[in-house]
Every structure is written in C-alpha cells, then in structure tokens.
Amino acid sequence: MSHPRLIAVACVLAWARAARAHEDGDELLDAGAADVQAPAAPRASPAVDSTPDAGGLAPTGPPAEPPSYDAPDAGAPLGTTVVRASRAPRSASEVTVPLDVVQAAPRSGATDLLRLVPGLVASQHSGEGKAQQLFLRGFDAVHGQDVELLVAGLPVNDVSHVHALGYADVNWLIPDAVREVRVTEGSYRAFQGDFAVAGTVQYELGLDEPGLSLSASYGSYNRLRLFAGVRPTDAPETFAAVEYVQGDGFGPQRAFGRVSLLGQATLKVGNARLRAVVGSAGARFDSPGVVPQAAVDAGAGFFDVFGLRQGGSTSRHQLLLGAELPHESGRTTLEVYGVLSDLLLRNNFTGYLQHAEGDGLEQQQSLGLVGARAVHRRHFHPFDSLVTLDLGLGGRRDGIHQSQRGYREVDGAPYRDDFAASIVQTAVSAWTEVAWLPSRWRFMLGGRLDVLHYGVTDELAFAGAGATRSAFGPHWGLKAGVERALGEAWRLFLNYGDGFRSPQARSLSDGERAPFVHVRGAEVGTAFTTAKVDVRGALFGSYVANDVFFDHTVGTTVYVGSTLRGGAQATVSARPLDGLLVAASVTGATAHVIETDSLLPYFAPLVARVDASYAHPFQAWGLTWTPRVGTGLTLIGPRPLPYDEFSRTVFLADVRAALRVGRVELVLDVQNLFDSRWRDGEFVYPSNWEPQGTPSLLPARHFTAGTPRTFAATLEVHL
C-alpha cells in the first residue's frame, strides 16, 4: 500500500473510532484526542498531529487523504504514525475546511481565504490592505463586528476600533501557511467570545510540505509575489514563512505592497506540548474610493477614482505562547498572547457633502493588546455514563490610541480635528460547558460571563484639556445543545446560544453600564458523514432586541429596534474518486426589522460557493508527475439596499491548473475567468462630488469595482 493511502486509511480509522467513541460515550471523544497508531509506511512522516482546540471540530468531509503532511521524499525515519482525530461537531454548522479544499482554487489573499467560510461574503472595498467587509447569516458584519476571527489562537478583531467596531484585518495572513479553517457559525458554543454574533472563524497554521519551499509568482497588473517557507520533517505544525507581495492594482490608485512573516513552533517536553506563534507584517495600499453610479451613467469609467489620497498603511506584530498539559482525565491549555498594531486610513466616500474643503477623513489607531486564557477539560463517569466538563477563563487588556481628523481634498492638508482618544479596555471572561452522554444522546449546557471595563480619555474635550470617563458592564449568555446519533453516519442537532458584541468605547458616557448588543440564536440541523461524503443542513434563526445599523460609509449609527434573522444552509463535501474533491455550500438568509416589517439593508440573502479539484499523479521517466486542476465558483445573490433597491448578482469563476514534476511545480491561476464587470460593494447614500455645481443630495447608488480577470503564473520549488 502506498504511503499516502496508508495515511488515509489511518485517518479513516481514527475518524471512525472517534465517531464510535462519540456514540458509545467513549471518553476519548471528549478528551479531545483519539490517538490511533498505525504501522508507518516507508518514508512516512512520523506524526500527524491535528490537535483540536476548545471548540473541537470535525472536518466537513471525510478525513481521508490529508495531503498536507505527505512527505514522499522527505526521507524521514521509520516509526509510528500517530493520528489525532478531530472531535465531532456540536452543531450542524461547525465545519472544518481542510487543506485540500483551501488549495483547490486560487487563493491570492485574505479575501479568498474568507470565502472558504460557508455563507460568508467578503468585500474588499478600499484597497488591498484594509479589512474586508463581511456578511454572514443575515448580518452585515461591517469590518468584523459580528464575526469573531482568530488565527492560531491570536484574536484578530480590534475592540473599539476607530474605523469600525470589531475591525478584523487578516490581510497579513499568508495563504500558504493556512492548514485549515475551523468555522463555528452561530453562537452556540461557550468558547465563542466578543463579536461571535454570526459566528467564529479560526485559521490554523501549518505548511503543507516539509523542507524548504520557495515560490515566485507574477501576474496581471504587475502583481509580484515571493514566498519562502521552511518546515521540519518531524514537526508538521512547526514552520516559518515569509511573503512579499506588490502590485499596481487593476486600476488607478490601487497600488499596494506588503510583507508578512509568520512562524509557529511546537515542542513536546514530557507530556506537555508547548507552542509559540510569532508574526510581523506591514502593508501600504492606495484606494480609489467609491464610484457614484450617476457618474458612470454620465460617462465616468467603471474603475475611476473618486477622492484623492485615499488608502493607508498597517503594521502588526504578534506573539502567542501556549502550553497543553494532558492529565489522566483530560487536559489543560494555557496561552498568553500579545499584539501590537497600527493603522493609518484615509477615506473620502462623500466628496464635499459635509464640508466645502472636502469630507476626507484620516483615521489613526495604535493598539497594544495583551491577554491570557486557560481551558481545563475534565471527564467524570457518574452512574456508568460520561460527563465532560470544560472550563475556560480569559482576560485581555487593549490599550488604544485613536484619532480622526478631516483633510482637504485639494492638497491633503488636515484642517479639522474630529476626535482623539486614549482608551483602555479590559475584558474578563469565564465560561463552562457541561455535557452528559447517555447512549446515543448528548446533552450540553453551558454559560459564559463577560465583564468589560472601559476607561476613555477624550483628549480634545474642554479645549484640549481633556476629559475622562469610565464605564463597566457584565454580559451573561446561555449555551445549550442536544445531539442525537442515528446509526453510524447520521446525527441530528438542536442548539441554542446567546452571543454578544461589545460597544464602542467612545460612545459610552461616564458611569454607563456598558450596553452589549445581545443576540439570541437557535439552530436545528443534521449531518450525514461517511468516508466519502459529508452532507450537512441547518435551519437557523437569531433575534436581536436592540439592533444597531452602522453605515460606515457615512459614519452614521441608526438604532433600528428589534431584528429577526433566519435562514438555511447546506454544505456538501465529497471525494467520490481518487483525486477528486468537491466542496459546496449554499446559504439563504433574511433579516427583518420587526417593528416596521422591513428588510435590513445590505445583508446577503443568497450565497453559494463551490470548490472542486482533481489531481492524478503518475510515474513517467523516473519522476512523479502530478497534474492538477481546480476551480472556485462564487455566487452572491442581489443584496437588499436602502430605498427598496437591490444590488446586482455576482458570479465569479476562478480556475487553477498546475503540474508538479518531482520537486518543481508550475501553477497557472485565472481569477474572474469570464471578466465580469462586477461590483464588489454597493451602497446607497448621498455624496457630492461637484462642489461648485448643483449636485443631487439624495441618497444614490455607489459601488466599488470588483477585480477584473487576472492571470498569475507561479513557480514553486520544494527542497
């Protein structure tokens, strides 16, 4: 039996045992690891160690054929293959996107990585460096306020961000270093924290191949990408990688450049497993602004620039140190982390609407974040049944300095100070999940307590003398779930969870009890999983008692009252033939304001995504030849806009063709194959780009142009 097939069999065995363990109440399931030992094949990599986190997730598809840790030429010593199976999901919408799906279609950056999340729409409306606008499950998450993002345990969402609440910039994430994407949609799990309103997305890191990997890519609009990564043979999660990308962009005022360094090291000391994650990144980008549709109707270009000097720069430095300490009846995980980040952003979405000098806004944010978390997992066996207990504690301190000032359109000179503030935001959280597993049932009850403290210094108040204020408030959330196994492959889920979003510090008054946006969500779903196919379906709904609609294009916040969201989601992942992979999802959602029985604007009612690839290795002339083709298809249905309007349907097709011969691979990528003139973002709001004329001040359609067809050729060498 060939080495990859042996690994595949080992994984299938591990998965099957984990599934049985679940149904039989085996504690292995909730120990978070099902260790399966299989005789190693010649040249096998000694360990495949995929450690689930507190969330404990399972692959969307059968865990067979994980190509990520194949090392046919690594020359590793003979040994034992240890496969640690992922835990079963706790809801139908807990999915893991494995590496082969990540690699199926072109992934040129963070936007493509975000599109891996079923039902998620990511819009990059202000250049390659600003955080994407996210839409998920009926929520317009703006730049991250309703989607919690984590990378290898490091939090990405910025609290009280100057540009948008929960601002989550993942442009520094190197696509080659993403091992898998763990998605927990909804807020049904206790480990989900601030901003996990529509869901939580966790990127796990690792390099595909051991040894040294080098690649160079050149494509349309002078896009140049250089990548280097190294991974030890015997430590699949340990790696170091660096990426350099620059380009002119697909139209005027779209140039960008960025560099990113990421590394992760794991080390076993006795029973303990130590882990460190480091990263440094910097980026600079231009932005063309937002195009008024009326201007295009009057003859302006689809890719024209409205507003000079827009764009920005970012930097981010981060470190996480963790230790996993197993014990007889469970394990304890300890982690400390820190993030330093800076952002400078210049936007002018409204021209001269508010100010004769121009409405340009220059926003700056500096963040210093330190935090720690501990998760303790334990099992009990009362009355011949299994009870698991998860306890989590966490705390973080965000030290923020932020400011906003207006700049003149004509020369970029600042002429107006809007605000400047220093913020210290502290969050302390505690959560627990208790699960009881009698026979084929699983009952889970959990809760989460988050307490926030805010200290704000408004530096411009009292003619620059400054003013201080503080606020404090707790949030309590309930989590519950019922699971029923029907046979070997089929499960039913019923889940409930309270999620929350912390408020913007500057919006709080002194002594105010910090108001949280509180969401109550529920879901019923099913999953059918065999060795070749994984099918899931879910109906979900959520209720927000006092929802807020924040229009970040004009910076207005509107309290809209109670809102109700609902929808359905289906995902399929299948490997029907050797080398053939198909992963697809379709999500329908709706979002209503209860009082007015009207739709909330901007959410995505219909999102469909297909990733498919086929690889067929063969031997010729003494070498292994691996041709590979793949495609990624995205469909985004018309989104409701203000004033009963709808955005246009978006359909994008990306294709990839690759040929690997021995240690060298050539990859050709085409994105937006049919060269669609698509609108990445569409908005309705007033603007004025005719300061001397008689402009219309009514709300009007604006858009940001989507990327046209692009080509890229990549040469990879694996040493």
Binding site: G588, A589, T590, L641, P642, Y643, S696
Partner: protein, 227 residues
C-alpha cells in the same frame, strides 16, 4: 437555470422591502392670498411679482422656528433651539431645475421632485440669478408710493422652512407658497419718497425686502393629498 434559482431563493429570503422607497411628486409654487399690509401701515398692491427659483430640497431636520401650542408646556417647559441651531439632516427630496414663477398667477407647476419616503422636517429654497422682484404701489392714507424692488437675490438659500410631514407613497403634491405679506412686513415706504424704480440697494426699504426674502417664515410649505 441559475437565474431561476436566484429568483426563487430571493423570493423566499428577500420578501418585503427596506423601510424607505423612492418616489416623486409635483411641486407647485404660488403666493399666499390676502391683503399685503406692512408693519408700518402701508397697504401694498402688486402689479408684478416674479421669482427666479433654482433649487428646492427637503430635509429630515425639523425647523424649530415656531413653538407649537402645547398646554403641557406651560407646566413643564422645555427648551427649543432657535432657527440658528437648525440642522438640515438627510436630504429627502429635491428639484434641481430652475424655474421663473409669476407669483400673481394662481399657481405655477415647478417640476416633479425626486424624493424618498420618510419623515420630512424642513425645506430649503434657493433663488436663481435674478432672485425676487416685486413692483406695485404702496398706499398709506393719502400717500401713494410706486416702487420696484429690483432684483433681490439672497446670498444663500433660504433654510429651515417648516414642513413636518410623513411622506409615504400616497399620491399628493407639495405646495410652496410665498407669503408676500410676511415678506414685505418690514418695509417702510416712507423712506422711498415719491417712488423709486428700482429701490436703492442701500436704502432701508430695499433692506426690508431683502430681509423678508431671507426670512424662512415668509414661505409656507404644505402637502396636498390627491385622491
């Protein structure tokens, strides 16, 4: 096939609409009928009254120029901002086509306003290059003064004209009525002597007309529902 799928899915998940919608309605301009009598006792008879209007815009911001009668307010008083604190808010309707209006005619149809539904609070009117021009005679006792104001062009649009109305999709039209009695109320024709054509722009009489043109209370905006 994919188009059908999209339509079916949207029909299911996007039923209903967002809270507001676009619409249009006619804008009518006229003068408030009645006798024109100034504060200084002159009765004015106009032989010509022409206004050159350039734009009309409706805004969400309420014009707090007048305090409505509120019996409870006598017991629990509340502060009202004066007109200088007017905040226009969001634009909800606009007419951007210039028009010349004969204010002695029963009414003049300006144009159809492009609009969105919503709660309206105030209106802004901008004059064109020739502004407002009134001519006629002013009479007080035995004194009769013929006058012609010449072109009175306000330096900026007249803001904060009260128009508190919920505009939905029902059929109707917006009437802008110029209250010439209020507009001319400040003018004392004593200073004009036997007559002036046009008025001296530095004269108190001209200044009275100019102030009247800028006074938002000289304009009355109403919604006229139509079956």
């Amino acid at each position: 096939m994919s188009r059908v799928f999209v339509l079916v899915a949207l029909g299911f998940f996007s039923c209903g609409g967002t809270a507001q919608t676009r619409r249009s309605f006619p804008v009518i301009v006229s003068a408030v009928p009645g006798v024109l009598r100034t504060d200084s006792g002159w009765t004015v008879t106009l032989s010509s009254a022409r206004a050159s209007l350039s734009t009309l815009r409706c805004f969400s911001g309420e014009a707090l120029a007048r305090r409505p009668f509120d019996p409870l307010g006598w017991l629990v008083s509340s502060a009202w901002a004066h007109p200088g604190h007017y905040v226009a808010g969001a634009a909800l309707c606009e007419v951007l086509t210039p028009v010349d209006v004969d204010l002695l005619a029963p009414e003049t149809t300006w144009a159809d306003a492009a609009a969105v539904t919503g709660t309206y609070g105030s209106v802004q009117v901008a004059f064109g290059d020739t502004g407002l021009r009134l001519a006629g005679t002013a009479t007080r006792g035995a004194d009769v003064v013929a006058f012609d104001t010449g072109d009175v062009v306000p330096p900026a649009a007249v803001e904060g004209i009260p128009f508190a109305h919920l505009v939905d999709t029902s059929v109707g039209r917006l009437r802008l009525a110029v209250d010439l009695d209020a507009l001319l109320s400040r003018v004392d024709f004593t200073e004009v002597g036997a007559g002036a054509s046009p008025l001296d722009p530095s004269s108190p009489a001209f200044n009275g007309v100019a102030r009247g043109v800028r006074d938002s209370s000289a304009y009355v905006v109403t919604w006229e529902s139509q079956p």
